[in-house]
C-alpha cells in the first residue's frame, strides 16, 4: 500500500489508493475475525493463533514473531475501521496530500504491527514506529499551537518509551532464558524482587501512552492540534496501545508484582478518571472537551486492567473498543463542523442542529454512547468494568470503584451541556445559517462508526466471549 502511494502522482490517485487500501484492510480484519472465531469454535487451543516466527537477530535471540488472540483481533478490527473512516474524513487534506497519507500509513503500520507482535523487541519497535509520524503529522498539518504540541507529545511519549526499553531489557535478562518471545517468557518465572522494578517501568512506559494520570498532559494539546484523521487514529487506536501493552507485557509477564503494587497505579488512574471528566466540564473548545473525556476514559481502561480479574479486564478491552470508535466519531464530527464554521468554541456556535441535522444527530448519538446509554457500546463496557471491579471484597477497591463511577455522572454533565449549547438554542452566528450538511464521503465515515458502536452496544455477547476466553490465560497467570 505504501509502495502504491509512492507511485501515485496526483491527488485523485492518492485518494483512490487510500480508499482501496483501507477497504481491503477492513475486509481483511473482518475475515480474520470470522476465521478466528470459527477456528476457536473448531477447538483450536493455545494462547495465540496464526503464529509465525522468523529468526531475526541471533545473538539476542530476537525473532520477528507474530500471532493473534481474541484481544488483538478485536484491536485490529478497531484499527482497520478507524483507518478506513480516517481516510474519508481527510478527503480534503491539503497541501501535500501524498505526504500526509504516507505518514498516515506508516502510523497505521506501526499500530497493526504492535497488535500482532508477540516478541518484545518487535513490539517495542512497532511502538516507536507508530510514534514518530505523529510529530510530522501534527507539526505540518495541525492547527493552533501545533509545534509546541507536536514536540510535547513526541518527547513525552518517547520519554516513556525510554523507561519501557529498560523494562524490556530487564525482563529479558532477569528471566534467565534468553528469549524475547512473550509466550515463552510467560512460562518462566522472573524473581519477584526484580518484578517490582520492571513492572513499574513497563507499566509506566505503556501507561503514559494510555494517558496515565498525571502524565496525560501531552494528550489534550496533541489531540487539539492534530488534523482530524490523526486525532481519530491517535485517540482511537494509539492510546489503546498503552492499555494493550500494559496487560500484555506488564501484567501477563509479571503477575506477582501486579498483585502487590497495582494499588499505586489504581489510585493514579482513579484520580485520572474523575479528573479528566472534571476538566472536560470547563473547556470551551470542542476538541479539548473530547480530549479530556478521552483522558478520563483511557484511565478507566487502565483502572479496569489493574483490577486483575476476568470481568473487569473484559470490560477494559470492550472499553478500549468502544472508546476507540466513539472518540473517533467525535473527532471526525468536530473536524467536519470546524471545516464549516471555522471555530471550535462552543460559545460561538448555536442551533447547529437546524442547519446540519445529519451531523447534529450523529453528534448526539456519539455523546449518548459516551455517557453510557444502554444499547450503545459505552454502556456495555462501563457496566462490565464496574461489575468486575466491585467483585473485589475489600474496602480499598470498592471505594475506588464508587469514586470512579462518579465519572459517569460528570460525563453526562459535560456531554449534555455541550450538546445543548451548540446544537440547540438560537443560531449564534448568522453566517452559519448558510452552511451545508455532510456530503457523501463524510456520511460514509460517520455511518460506519455509528453502525459499529450500535453493533457492540446491542450484540456484545459474541465479542465479549471472544475476549473473555482469550483473557483466561492471563487470569490463570494471575492466579498462579
Amino acid at each position: 500500500m505504501i509502495i502504491a502511494l509512492f507511485i501515485a502522482r496526483n491527488r485523485k490517485q492518492v485518494l483512490g489508493v487510500m480508499v482501496t487500501g483501507s477497504t481491503l484492510l477492513v475486509i481483511m480484519a473482518v475475515y480474520l475475525t470470522v476465521s478466528y472465531v470459527t477456528d476457536r469454535a473448531a477447538g483450536a487451543t493455545g494462547p495465540m493463533l496464526y503464529t509465525a516466527s522468523m529468526m531475526w537477530y541471533e545473538p539476542l535471540n530476537i525473532h520477528y514473531s507474530v500471532g493473534v488472540d481474541g484481544i488483538s483481533v478485536a484491536m485490529l478490527c478497531l484499527s482497520a475501521i478507524i483507518v478506513f473512516t480516517g481516510t474519508f474524513t481527510s478527503w480534503k487534506m491539503e497541501p501535500l496530500t501524498k505526504e500526509f497519507f504516507l505518514w498516515f500509513c506508516l502510523l497505521s503500520i506501526g499500530v497493526f504491527g504492535f497488535f500482532i507482535a508477540t516478541d518484545l523487541f518487535t513490539m517495542f519497535m512497532f511502538y516507536e514506529v507508530a510514534l514518530i509520524p505523529m510529530f510530522l503529522l501534527i507539526g505540518i498539518w495541525g492547527s493552533g499551537r501545533k509545534e509546541y504540541s507536536a514536540m510535547k507529545l513526541t518527547l513525552m511519549l518517547m520519554g516513556a518509551s525510554a523507561f519501557l526499553l529498560v523494562g524490556i531489557l530487564g525482563i529479558y535478562f532477569s528471566s534467565g532464558a534468553s528469549t524475547m518471545n512473550i509466550l515463552e517468557l510467560v512460562k518462566l518465572h522472573i524473581p519477584v524482587q526484580q518484578q517490582y522494578l520492571f513492572f513499574t517501568l513497563t507499566f509506566f512506559g505503556f501507561g503514559v501512552l494510555g494517558a496515565l494520570f498525571p502524565f496525560h498532559t501531552w494528550s489534550p494539546d496533541g489531540h487539539a492540534s492534530a488534523p482530524t484523521a490523526v486525532s481519530m487514529l491517535h485517540a482511537g487506536v494509539l492510546m489503546k496501545l498503552g492499555g494493550y501493552g500494559c496487560f500484555r507485557v506488564a501484567i501477563y509477564l509479571m503477575p506477582e508484582a501486579a498483585h502487590d503494587i497495582s494499588w499505586i497505579f489504581l489510585i493514579l488512574t482513579g484520580i485520572g478518571v474523575v479528573y479528566g471528566a472534571f476538566s472536560a466540564i470547563h473547556q470551551t473548545d470542542l476538541k479539548y472537551i473530547n480530549a479530556y473525556s478521552s483522558v478520563s476514559h483511557c484511565n478507566l481502561v487502565l483502572f479496569a486492567i489493574l483490577m486483575l480479574n476476568q470481568t473487569a479486564m473484559t470490560g477494559a478491552v470492550l472499553q478500549m473498543l468502544s472508546h476507540g470508535l466513539m472518540t473517533a466519531l467525535f473527532f471526525a464530527l468536530i473536524g467536519m463542523i470546524y471545516g464549516r464554521t471555522h471555530t471550535r468554541l462552543i460559545t460561538e456556535m448555536g442551533g447547529l442542529m437546524k442547519i446540519m441535522p445529519f451531523l447534529g444527530v450523529s453528534f448526539v448519538i456519539g455523546g449518548l454512547a459516551s455517557l453510557g446509554l444502554p444499547g450503545l457500546s459505552g454502556f456495555v463496557a462501563e457496566m462490565t468494568i464496574f461489575f468486575g471491579s466491585f467483585e473485589h471484597p475489600d474496602i480499598f477497591h470498592r471505594v475506588l470503584t464508587i469514586a470512579s463511577t462518579m465519572s459517569i455522572v460528570i460525563t453526562a454533565v459535560y456531554i449534555l451541556r455541550m450538546v445543548g449549547k451548540f446544537l440547540y438554542g438560537p443560531i449564534q452566528d448568522q453566517h452559519h445559517a448558510s452552511l451545508t450538511d455532510a456530503v457523501w464521503y463524510e456520511k460514509i465515515a460517520v455511518v460506519t462508526l455509528i453502525a459499529f458502536i450500535a453493533a457492540i452496544g446491542s450484540l456484545p455477547l459474541g465479542l465479549s466471549d471472544m475476549i473473555r476466553t482469550s483473557l483466561s490465560d492471563v487470569v490463570a497467570q494471575l492466579m498462579r
Binding site: 545473538p59 539476542l60 516507536e128 518517547m158 526499553l165 529479558y172
Partner: protein, 473 residues
C-alpha cells in the same frame, strides 16, 4: 625475516600505493591532467576499498609489532567505506574556483591520516601505536587549517595541533610509566604483568586520558566545537566519524586486551565519563545555532554511546560497538553530505537557514530527516537497532541505571534532532535556500548513506557477521 609477513599488511600496502600514486599524479599532471584528478583519486580509493572488503586470517608481523585479526580488517573496511563517502562528498567542494589548488593536498593528507589509523588499529606495541596515532593526528591539523584564507580554519588547525600535542604528551607520560613498571611494550606480554598497583593505575589513567582527548569525551572535549566549526566541511565530516570511530575501537581493544586486569578501575572511569559526556554534550547541542557546531556536540554525545558499548567488556559489547560505528558513519555522513551540498552553493550554515527547505529541496531534506531520525534512534532506521544493541550489551552486565540515564538522554537528543526536522518541514521562510542540484558524486554518496540507514538495521546478518569476529575478556 619472512617477506610473506608483509602480506598481513595488504590493507596498508594497497592504501600506500594509492597515496603514492596520487602524490606522483599531482606532481606530474599538468592543468589538463588535474581536471581528472578527483575522479581518478576516488576510483583508486574505491578499488582499494573493494579489494580489502573481505576479512582475512589473523597473523602478526615483525615480531608482534604489527597484529592483524579479522575484526581489525572489518573495522578497516568500515573506515574505508566511510572515507569513500567523505571523498565523494568532497568532490564538489574542491571543484570550486577558490579551492581548486588544494585538492592534491586534501586527498594526500586525508589518506595519510587513514593510513595512520590503520597502524594504530593494528599495533601490537605501544610504540607502534604511538607512531600510528601521530601519523593520524598531525596531518589532521593541516587538514583542519586547509582553508588558508579563512581565519576560523587557521584557528581550528592551531587548536587541533595544540590539543593533540598536549594529549599525546600526557599519553606518552602514561606509556613511559607502563614501561617502567612492567619492562615491556608488547601488548601480548602486558596483561600478565599488570596488577592493580597504584603506579600502574596512575599510568593507565594518564594513558586513557590521552585517548579520551582524541575521542573528545567530556571533560576533554573543549577543542571539538571550534575545530569542527572552523574546518572545511569535508574535513569535519572525516574528523567526526572516521577519526572518532577508529579511536574508540582502539580504546576498546586496549581495555580488553591490555588492561583486562584493571576492569574494575576502568569500568568506574567509563561509567562517570559516559554519563557526563552524553548529558553535557546534549545540553550544549540544544543551544547551538550553527549546524556544524550542533553536529559537533551531537558527535560528542554519540561518542559517549560508543563508549557505552565498551563498558560491558564482553564480545557482544565489541560487536555492538563496531556495528554502532558502521551505522553512525552512514547517519552522520548523510547529514554532512546535505550540509556540504548546501554550503558549497549558498554558504549558509545556520539551522535557521534550513527553514522551509522541504518546499524547495524535498530530496535533500528527506535525506537529512532520515539522518536525524537515525541519529536519534527512531525505528525502522538503523540508528534504532544500533542503540538498542548497545543498551542491551550494557544491561546484560547489570548497568541498568546507566542504561536508563543513556536512554533518557536519547530523548533529549531526539529533541534537538527534531528541531532540525522542524526547521526543514514545518517552519516557513521568506528566503528559503533555492532549489539546488547536487553533483553526481555527492548524490551517489547520499544514496549509499540512505541505503545504509534503511537497510543495515533490518538485515540482521550484518551484525551477526561482525559478531563472529569479535572478542571479549
Amino acid at each position: 625475516m619472512n617477506y610473506s609477513d608483509f602480506l598481513y599488511m595488504r590493507n596498508e600496502l594497497s592504501l600506500l600505493i594509492v597515496i603514492l600514486f596520487l602524490l606522483v599524479y599531482d606532481l606530474i599532471a599538468g592543468k589538463k591532467g588535474m581536471k581528472y584528478f578527483q575522479p581518478v583519486a576516488i576510483i583508486a580509493f574505491a578499488i582499494h576499498t573493494v579489494l580489502n572488503i573481505l576479512p582475512y586470517p589473523a597473523g602478526e608481523a615483525f615480531g608482534g609489532m604489527y597484529l592483524n585479526t579479522p575484526m581489525m580488517t572489518v573495522v578497516k573496511s568500515i573506515l574505508n567505506i566511510g572515507t569513500l563517502i567523505v571523498l565523494l562528498q568532497a568532490k564538489n567542494v574542491f571543484d570550486m574556483e577558490n579551492q581548486r589548488n588544494r585538492r592534491g593536498e586534501y586527498y594526500f593528507l586525508t589518506l595519510t591520516t587513514l593510513l595512520g589509523m590503520y597502524y594504530m588499529i593494528s599495533s601490537g606495541n605501544f610504540l607502534m601505536f604511538y607512531i600510528g596515532l601521530e601519523m593520524a593526528s598531525i596531518p589532521m591539523a593541516t587538514l583542519a587549517a586547509l582553508d588558508k584564507e579563512d581565519n576560523k580554519s587557521a584557528e581550528a588547525g592551531a587548536k587541533y595541533i595544540l590539543s593533540a600535542a598536549f594529549s599525546s604528551g600526557i599519553m606518552l607520560f602514561g606509556i613511559s610509566y607502563i614501561y617502567g613498571t612492567t619492562g615491556t611494550m608488547y601488548f601480548m606480554d602486558l596483561p600478565s604483568l599488570i596488577s592493580a598497583n597504584a603506579l600502574q593505575i596512575m599510568a593507565f589513567v594518564f594513558f586513557i586520558v590521552g585517548l579520551f582527548f582524541k575521542i573528545s569525551l567530556v571533560p576533554f572535549h573543549l577543542w571539538t566545537a571550534d575545530v569542527y566549526e572552523g574546518s572545511p566541511t569535508s574535513v569535519t565530516a572525516y574528523l567526526s566519524v572516521i577519526s572518532k570511530g577508529s579511536a574508540v575501537f582502539v580504546l576498546t581493544v586496549m581495555l580488553y586486551k591490555v588492561f583486562g586486569n584493571l576492569i574494575d578501575q576502568w569500568q568506574g572511569i567509563l561509567y562517570g565519563i559516559i554519563i557526563v559526556s552524553i548529558t553535557i554534550a546534549n545540553l550544549f547541542a540544544i543551544r547551538q545555532k550553527n549546524i556544524k557546531r550542533f553536529l559537533a556536540f551531537s558527535s560528542i554525545s554519540q561518542a559517549g554511546y560508543l563508549v557505552l558499548a565498551t563498558i560491558s567488556g564482553t564480545a557482544y559489547g565489541m560487536t555492538t560497538l563496531v556495528y554502532y560505528v558502521l551505522v553512525y558513519i552512514f547517519s552522520n555522513l548523510a547529514a554532512f553530505g546535505v550540509i556540504s551540498a548546501i554550503e558549497t552553493r549558498t554558504r549558509k550554515l545556520n539551522i535557521s537557514d534550513y527553514n522551509g527547505l522541504y518546499s524547495t529541496n524535498p530530496k535533500l531534506s528527506f535525506v537529512m530527516m532520515l539522518a536525524m531520525f537515525s541519529l536519534g534512534g527512531i525505528p525502522p532506521f538503523a540508528g534504532f537497532f544500533s542503540k538498542f544493541f548497545i543498551f542491551s550489551a550494557a544491561a546484560q552486565q547489570g548497568f541498568y541505571v546507566l542504561v536508563l540515564i543513556a536512554v533518557i538522554n536519547t530523548i533529549i537528543s531526539l529533541y534537538y534532532y527534531l528541531l532540525v526536522v522542524r526547521a526543514m518541514f514545518i517552519e516557513k521562510s521568506d528566503n528559503p535556500i533555492p532549489a539546488l542540484k547536487t553533483d553526481a558524486y555527492n548524490r551517489i554518496s547520499l544514496v549509499i548513506c540512505t541505503t545504509g540507514i534503511m537497510v543495515v538495521g533490518i538485515l540482521s546478518f550484518i551484525m551477526e557477521k561482525i559478531g563472529t569476529y569479535s572478542f571479549g575478556m
